[in-house]
């Protein structure tokens, strides 16, 4: 049975706006400016024949002269003393640590060029998210400081800095010293801070995170007497109910959660006829919400009440039971969720993204009722990934304002940008005599400090981390420091006059006492594996001891404040982190800026997400520039019509509007941190704001979602769990047995490289896109070029909306005109890349045979043969070919990492950089295939399945992409493609793609 359900990428496609129709006519949105050339400065101006001939003559002569030089002389400079482990041309891999995840760093001739997850890592299991993949570029960032800064002298020496700091620190008598850092979970780093405190006893270490989890930590203290961030085990949960927690996108530990979440929903799980159920209550469309089986819209003010009513529905007693009277849909969903949760006690999990202590107390109460503690939530082996305390930082601010603080040291922390009130912060720290920052660049906070002691990038320094109880990872430097920087911990050691001056030595000493002693392993052994797990502590019983009634009171007050004075222009605002930029620390990374937001597909900007219907009611059109005001802070941002945004609410992403981060982050979006509210001792992501029209011209967001559409052809296949259990092939559509073709059949005697992509495992996180960028030297084109539909990504994750089906009925196309349906959309993500068709339409039309088929099933692309007719892109039904409109690697107009001598170092030497006028596309990481084959040949053996991994597959946190040799019947990919759920996109046109997709299965409960 084939569904004729309508899938659409954006509202403009749905409504067929004239602009969309016009731009979508051809493969390329903009016609060539031939008219302009002919009519304007081109031929019509007086170009005398003589001038023309002169120019011709000069050109001919110049070319002739230039050609006289035989060849440029290339130098070859070998090592003087070659390190034994380096063989030029062969990469070395080292273990290191990124953000608590153990990683493998690929280096070529001594420079790191790619980060991959370490298969030994308990958090990532060898996978990594987009941020981790992109982090290698920050190493070479030219916006970083090249030397320490002392009193605005940008060429200070370390000796001067050390002398100044030590003298100044010793001058402070009776004044307080404060070290302000983001979460510090490095055991050695903590020990260094402790040693510093011993030397300067007036010191206190304050941890503060831009996006804080202190509500959860406090709630656990109130409820169980354990002030910890628990370690969640989503893989043990059969029913997951999330209230605004974007655990697949940004919440606590997304890489780990992605893997755990999909382990109950992927092919292996479905084969066991098992699939978890996920219900999401949220305001804006998050990555997690878009993957949920059921998604219910609630306003931020309704979140606490929804939790309270769920608590009552589960049998919890509360003095004043609450009902969601204004939102009957959510109220009904709460009772369904309660029933499902109650039916899965011990296998259920409720999480909430709120940073409000009272709300989290209610969540704890619910989880306690469900028996989640000890099963899906571990309080005794907590996570140390976030430990910031909002209240501590506010205390520090008050101390500073009173003039009690004599010195402050900022470590990996930037409150000048991400504190709720930057002005107040500036005033407060201006009262501190000695201000020191370890920032790697002159960021918003560091520019207020006298001393900037630039810290190493994580690939330049020794480090360690302890992301959760019992799990330790080692960070290893893989390159000599690029600039004159120094590890922050080393600085603290020197300033504290520690007898151990070398941080490397310090870590080893520290580990010898702790981890090495406990694990019985040597430092070198651990350096090889990268991490060590000392085992879990036994979990004690946790009896809930919180006060739900008190929490309920606080929630109600908070909620009524949020909903108060509901006039035409005041709306509830939800501030969130998006998947690519996160909290804004990596805002200067062009790879991340150009990674489209998974849901809205916007690049290079933040925006106001609003429901189309609600915007219509307020009288705004899409992309209107609107002013958002809270108290005395306001920003002007464009409106973005987001299907699935709750009525009466807007959402704005943090992490944008950096002023001091560097070239790429400059003038990208607006800062949304000041919209946070400090309530009951925590910073909360909700507030009440006023919208007002600016009357300015609409702002064009660089949005990729409707680029490369597939002309309304039905390329998504989905089914429900119920149908799947009856018939595993349900929803895969008709299988075409088209014997007639224009093309000859290819023989694949050796390998047949193919790929399987499980739509049910893909969560749309975008890690594959960045991994592909890094591996294949894909240029960044910048906002303007993305607006012209010229982004270069070889793999894109298409996001399709469809209207929620009622029962089994098919949504009629004309229902689309009713905007209210845009609230209830379901989402499917589909990674789309070159399908390596056996009958490739692109290959047939190339006039110069620049793209041809190989005997291994790949569609090859010879760049130096391509003359740029672009016929192939025009003829590709999957829209996966990309044209180089410029020499991106050598053009200073682009925010590109390729056009300066530092960031160029990140390029993969095994892949050519493409020149202007050349077509490119996914090569299936042919450099990796060739390298893998060669290794096998050198060892005189067959290629082992799994030995060759393409970049997107390697990093996919959920293992949704499987690559391999179809000619090997035992390979993972052959097994995956033999699944009943497999279908091929556009197989009806007989292109015989090499990539098979598996249907999306939804666990929609017809309760």
């Amino acid at each position: 049975m084939e569904s004729n359900k309508k899938y659409w990428k954006g509202l403009e496609e749905l409504q067929k706006t004239p602009d969309f129709v016009e731009k979508n006519k051809g493969e390329f949105a903009e016609p060539l400016p031939i008219e302009e050339v002919l009519n304007e400065a081109g031929l019509s101006t007086i170009t005398p024949r003589r001038d023309f001939l002169k120019a011709m003559g000069f050109g001919l002569g110049a070319v002739t002269l230039a050609a006289c030089q035989t060849a440029p002389v290339h130098k070859s400079i070998p090592y003087l003393i070659k390190p034994e482990e380096v063989v030029p041309g062969i990469p070395n891999y080292y273990t290191s640590t990124y953000n608590g995840h153990s990683v493998l760093v690929k280096t070529r001739e001594g420079r790191p060029i790619k980060i991959e997850g370490n298969p030994n890592c308990l958090l990532s299991k060898g996978r990594l998210d987009a941020n981790g993949q992109a982090s290698v570029l920050d190493l070479y960032d030219v916006s970083k400081l090249k030397n320490p800064v002392l009193n605005n002298n940008e060429r200070a020496s370390w000796a001067e800095v050390d002398q100044f700091v030590v003298t100044e620190l010793n001058k402070l008598v009776g004044k307080k010293i404060r070290i302000v850092s983001s979460t510090l979970n490095s055991p050695s780093g903590k020990a260094v801070v402790a040693d510093f405190i011993t030397k300067y006893p007036n010191t206190k270490h304050i941890q503060v995170d831009a996006v804080s989890y202190s509500g959860i930590i406090k709630a656990n203290e109130v409820s169980f007497g354990k002030a910890v961030l628990p370690h969640y085990a989503i893989d043990k949960a059969d029913v997951i109910v999330s209230f605004g927690a974007d655990f697949l996108g940004t919440w606590i530990s997304p890489v780990e959660f992605n893997r755990q979440y999909v382990s109950n929903r992927n092919g292996a799980s479905l084969a066991k006829k098992k699939m978890s159920r996920h219900i999401q209550f949220e305001t804006g469309m998050s990555l997690t919400g878009s993957n949920a089986d059921a998604r219910i819209l609630i306003k931020p003010s309704e979140q606490g009440i929804a939790l309270l009513s769920l608590y009552s529905a589960l049998g919890g007693t509360v003095s004043a039971p609450q009902k969601l009277t204004n939102n009957p849909k959510a109220a009904a969903a709460i009772s369904i969720a309660a029933k499902e949760l109650a039916g899965a006690k011990g296998r259920a999990l409720v999480v909430c993204g709120s940073n409000d202590t009272s709300t989290q107390v209610v969540v704890n109460a619910i989880n306690s009722l469900l028996g989640s503690y000890g099963t899906t939530i571990d309080l005794d082996n907590p996570s140390f990934q976030h430990a910031g305390s909002d209240a501590d930082f506010v205390d520090f601010m008050n101390e500073a304002k009173r003039g009690e603080v004599g010195a402050v040291i900022f470590l990996n922390s930037n409150p000048g940008y991400d504190y709720v009130n930057p002005k107040e912060f500036t005033e407060a720290i201006n009262k501190i005599p000695l201000k020191i920052s370890f920032a790697d660049r002159k960021d918003e906070t560091a520019s207020l400090c006298q001393v900037i002691a630039p810290n190493h990038h994580y690939l330049e320094s020794w480090n360690d981390s302890n992301p959760f109880e019992g799990y330790y990872t080692i960070g290893q430097p893989t390159i000599n420091p690029i600039y004159n920087t120094r590890s922050a911990e080393q600085g603290l050691l020197i300033w504290a006059g520690n007898p151990v001056k070398d941080y490397y030595q310090y870590i080893q000493n520290n580990w010898a006492k702790t981890v090495l002693a406990a694990s019985g392993k040597t430092w070198k052994e651990l350096l090889q594996t990268g991490s060590v797990y000392l085992g879990a502590k036994p979990s004690a019983t946790s009896a809930f001891a919180g006060d739900v009634n008190a929490a309920s009171q606080a929630i109600l007050t908070n909620s009524s404040n949020l909903a108060k004075g509901a006039s035409k222009d005041t709306v509830e605002l939800q501030v969130y982190q998006n998947v690519s930029i996160g909290d804004g620390k990596a805002a200067n990374n062009p790879w991340l800026q150009e990674l489209p937001d998974p849901v809205s597909k916007v690049t290079w900007d933040n925006y106001i997400a609003i429901s189309p219907k609600y915007a219509e009611k307020l009288g705004y059109a899409e992309y209107d520039l609107v002013k958002v005001t809270k108290d005395d802070y306001s920003v002007i941002l464009p409106l973005l019509f987001q299907p699935g945004q709750a009525q009466g609410t807007i959402s704005i992403a943090v992490g944008y509007g950096r002023t001091h981060a560097g070239k790429a982050a400059k003038e990208v979006g607006k800062n949304a941190y000041p919209f946070l509210s400090f309530i009951n001792g925590t910073l909360q992501t909700t507030s009440r704001v006023t919208l007002s029209s600016t009357g300015e011209l609409p702002y064009e967001l660089a949005r990729t979602q409707t680029h490369h559409t597939i002309e309304g052809r039905n390329i998504i296949r989905e089914t429900t769990l119920k149908q799947y259990l009856q018939d595993p092939t349900s929803g895969t559509g008709k299988h075409f047995q088209n014997k007639v073709g224009l093309w000859k059949e290819y023989e694949h005697p050796g390998h047949k490289w193919v790929m399987a992509i499980d739509l049910n495992a893909c969560t749309g996180c975008g890690a594959c896109v960045v991994a592909c960028n890094v591996e294949n030297n894909i240029p960044v084109v910048g906002r303007d070029e993305v607006r012209r539909r010229r982004e270069m990504h070889w793999i894109r994750v298409d996001r399709y909306y469809s209207f929620e089906e009622k029962g089994n009925s098919v949504t009629e196309e004309n229902e689309i005109n009713h905007m209210e349906d845009a609230d209830n959309v379901s989402v499917v993500y589909q990674p789309m890349l070159c399908q390596h068709c056996d009958h490739a339409p692109c290959e047939t039309v190339c006039p110069v045979l620049a793209t041809v088929h190989s005997s291994e099933g790949l569609s090859h692309m010879a760049y130096n043969r391509c003359i740029g007719t672009r016929y192939c892109a025009n003829n590709c039904p999957y829209k996966v070919r990309r044209f180089n409109w410029f020499n991106y690697w050598n053009d200073s107009r682009f925010e590109n990492y390729m056009n300066n001598e530092f960031t160029q170092l990140v390029l993969n030497p095994d892949v050519t950089t493409r020149s202007r006028g050349v077509m490119e596309k996914c090569s299936m990481c042919i450099q990796r295939i060739q390298a893998g084959k060669l290794t096998a040949k050198l060892d005189k053996r067959k290629v082992v399945d799994g030995e060759i991994q393409v970049a997107c597959q390697q990093t996919c946190p959920t293992n949704a992409i499987i690559f391999g040799d179809l000619n090997d019947p035992t390979s993972q990919v052959a097994k995956a493609l033999s699944s009943e759920r497999t279908y091929y996109v556009l197989e009806e046109i007989n292109t015989q793609p090499g990539i098979g997709y598996q249907t999306k299965v939804r666990n929609t409960a017809e309760a």
């Binding site: 070859s76 003087l80 062969i90």
Partner: protein, 423 residues
């Protein structure tokens, strides 16, 4: 052009050889054994001994005076056993050079040893000649290579000469007719000039002849132009002057050092890699060629020491290291991927197949054209070395073309596909 220069070089070489031979033949009596001894000396002895300088072992100058010939033969054949047997002289030497022990060379016949000794003796007698001879021969070959003219230059010179002649001829004609016009104006009626060569004139007026000449010119210039264009960017024969006059002839040819001793990457990586200087130092911390330079360390070897800031007396590297900037000879375009290990280790191809008679090159030049045509031709002709390599088993078994009886060349196995080299 390469072939011409090769020819020139071989001519010069044979000339030099001929003169040297006649020279030496006149007054060196035991030339035969001394010449053989010279080769053996370089192969076996120079790694530890110099003629006039103590290196690892003693200086060999005057060794025949210090020891009897019979004793020396025995000693060189098996020194350790002589020391063990308690021979007085042997023990004395062993004590002096502790812990180094003279290596045994059982493969040398008494005649071989005598040859070596003869060579040493001969070298002693002409102390001044040796240092002059070395550099002269080196410079000679270098100037030959530098004086070499490229295709382009040669063609250019000829073309310029031809054009100049034509211009002179035409100008001459113009002047003559102008003169005639001027004279006519003055009223002077000239008699028809008596044709100097009536046959030549006739020929010039013969259309068939003119057509033939034009045709020849078109063919000649056209083919020359075509060839020139076709070979643009092809640098076959490219032989730049390197910062160190490293001789493959000496190292790979005479000393027979295996290629992969220095070019370790060739067997495991895409880059054959130029050896780092610490590899040179494996030998050259004692091989200093002092016998050629009056006891001084060879200036070329000194360049290594300088780059490494190495002190030969203390034998330590200093802090002021400076890398050697070799000039790259084989410049394969960036868009073509070439992997040495695939060709050398997997396919088992000799280095000489692409790099030419490297063991005879005192200075390396580009032997192969490195064009795509050249690559493709080889891929079409060369059979894949699949025997005993399990990787190829399935491919060989499943390939329909092989079943039809085609040879398993690289091309048949997919070695001509674009993506095998271009990505």
């Amino acid at each position: 052009m390469r072939s011409i220069s090769l020819f020139l070089r071989s001519v010069t070489k044979s000339l030099i050889l001929f003169t040297t031979l006649t020279f030496t033949g006149v007054y060196v009596s035991h030339a035969q054994s001394a010449a053989e001894g010279a080769t053996l000396f370089k192969q076996k002895c120079t790694s530890c001994h110099a003629l006039d300088k103590k290196v690892v072992g003693p200086a060999l100058k005057g060794v025949s005076d210090r020891h009897k010939e019979d004793w020396l033969v025995k000693w060189i054949n098996n020194a350790p056993s002589m020391i063990a047997s308690g021979d007085k002289e042997a023990v004395a030497i062993a004590n002096e050079y502790k812990p180094m022990v003279m290596t045994a060379f059982p493969e040398l016949t008494p005649d071989n040893v005598k040859g070596i000794l003869a060579y040493i003796k001969a070298e002693e007698t002409k102390p001044a000649a040796a240092p002059v001879a070395g550099p002269v021969s080196g410079d000679g070959s270098q100037s030959a290579s530098n004086g070499e003219v490229s295709n382009f230059e040669l063609g250019g010179v000829i073309a310029i000469a031809v054009i100049a002649l034509l211009v002179i001829f035409v100008l001459n004609r113009v002047i003559k007719s102008l003169e005639r016009v001027a004279l006519q104006k003055q009223g002077v009626v000239l008699e028809e000039e008596v044709a100097s060569g009536p046959a030549f004139r006739k020929l010039l007026k013969n259309k068939k002849f003119i057509f033939f000449i034009v045709l020849v010119l078109v063919i000649f210039l056209g083919s020359a132009g075509w060839k020139g264009m076709w070979e643009t960017g092809v640098h076959q024969g490219y032989q730049p002057v390197q910062p160190i006059k490293f001789s493959h002839q000496l190292h790979a040819g005479i000393n027979k050092i295996d290629c992969q001793y220095c070019h370790t990457g060739a067997y495991k990586s895409k880059n054959a890699s130029i050896p780092s200087l610490n590899v040179c130092m494996n030998c050259h911390n004692y091989v200093q060629a002092t016998e050629k330079y009056n006891g001084e360390i060879s200036p070329e070897i000194q360049k290594i020491y300088k780059a490494l800031d190495y002190n030969p007396d203390t034998k330590v590297y200093g802090p002021n290291k400076k890398p050697v900037e070799w000039i790259r000879i084989h410049n394969l375009q960036d868009f073509a991927y070439f992997n040495h290990s695939q060709h050398v280790k997997v396919a088992g191809i000799q280095c000489q197949k692409c790099h030419g008679p490297i063991q005879t090159m005192s200075e390396v030049y580009q032997y192969s054209p490195l064009t795509m045509k050249w690559c493709i031709n080889c891929h079409k002709e060369t059979e894949v070395n699949h025997k005993g390599n399990a990787y190829y088993d399935r491919l060989i078994a499943a390939h329909s073309k092989l079943k039809k009886g085609e040879k398993p060349t690289a091309a048949v196995m997919g070695g001509l596909e674009c993506g095998k080299c271009h990505y």
